[in-house]
Symmetry: C2
Subunit: 236 residues, 2 copies
């Protein structure tokens, strides 16, 4: 392979913001570093990009290492590149945003990495610019979950509407009206009623639904407001 005549090649890291939902609050998967630099401090899970590895693959590798999960929802949300963001050496960080069903993760792998699930409200200060990354990821989540049925990614395959509502309440840190929420969600036509009930409940058992993933793709742009909705093509 030839090379460009350009002197500066830069170290590229990948950092992952991993959101989970424990049924009550939003959680972040963070690691307490047992390596230098900043040993003993909290940070996001990350790693360096390999020479022969696509960005997405790198993120998937890091996520798999930590959680034992594949095929999870991952999205690139930005690249952080301030010259002095890493005190050791200039490092670009491509930041990924992952949503996982917290029950699925591999507890052993998480323990081995010295990682913990931490409620968003109790997040400690993180190293470098990782706090900025988390802030950006939370904004991204809030922004996108208000417009698109993103929240499903944080729930099990089958879930109840009250569960989904609790999740939305956690994301936006506000109470929502049960009846209106239910009507809005159902009116999207994205939920399929499995006919089953949540047997864990000690009171009236809520119905279990699952996401209609085909429609989810098609309806991705149908919540808009500024441009008349009926006129918008289904796939932009």
């Amino acid at each position: 392979m030839t090379r460009y005549e350009h002197p500066t090649r830069i170290l590229v890291a990948i950092d992952c913001i991993i959101f989970g939902f424990d049924g009550e609050e939003l959680d972040l998967l963070l690691i307490k570093r047992n390596f230098e630099p900043e040993k003993g401090k909290w940070s996001l899970m990350g790693g360096f990009l390999n020479e022969t590895e696509d960005l997405e693959k790198g993120a998937e590798r890091i996520l798999y290492d930590l959680t034992g999960l594949k095929n999870i929802f991952v999205e690139q949300i930005g690249t952080f590149g301030k010259v002095s963001r890493d005190p050791v050496e200039r490092t670009l960080s491509v930041v990924f945003f992952a949503l996982i069903n917290i029950a699925d993760h591999d507890q052993e792998a998480v323990k081995a990495h010295n990682a913990n699930w931490i409620t968003l409200g109790k997040k400690p200060k993180l190293i470098f610019d990782h706090d900025d990354m988390v802030r950006m990821a939370l904004e991204h989540l809030r922004y996108n979950a208000a417009l698109h049925p993103l929240g499903f990614e944080l729930l099990p395959e089958r879930f109840t509407i009250p569960q989904l509502q609790k999740l939305y309440e956690a994301i936006y840190d506000m109470k929502l009206d049960r009846r209106n929420f239910s009507r809005k969600i159902l009116s999207t036509g994205l939920l399929i009623d499995t006919g089953e009930k949540d047997e864990n409940s000690t009171t009236k058992k809520a119905g279990l639904f699952r996401l209609d993933r085909e429609r989810y793709q098609k309806k991705f742009y149908s919540f808009w407001n500024f441009i008349p909705n009926p006129a918008l093509p289904e796939a932009l």
Copy 2:
């Protein structure tokens, strides 16, 4: 400065998608390369990131070189990192999205770079993965302009509502109802009537408005739908 014990440092490029609006159609600022590789072919304006330069600064430098403009609307929209995306050497590309008022740019600088404004509908095939970048940028524009008063960035400081409407029609490639558009835009409270008229018109002169930039910031999140609007805090 110490260094990480990690072998792979990667070349990092910055590529810019520059949108302009000529009053009728959306335009892209593209360069016809007079250098290798892919000499003679069309591409986005780009360059390599310098060792001592922040990402944003790099984008601003490249944009200034080409257009002579500073303080323009620039946003990072993603990083492209497929291993084989550049045939010469592995290169990460951080993609920026710029909106400029087409009348302001420096025509001499553009000519010197062998660049041209090209209507989006007549875009030639671009090198590498630049077509994907343009596609992503257009989606970004459509997505964001539907929810936020982004279009203003493409217009002069003072503009008329019919101009703004033509712009939106160009972005979404559809006709909009004049009366409803006007009412919707005005109801955002983001436009300040300058009291002046567009003297270029040969028929009834439209009123000139300007953007209330302070409110623009505050109202950025006020077009949502999924979560009751009145309940949303002004700044998330």
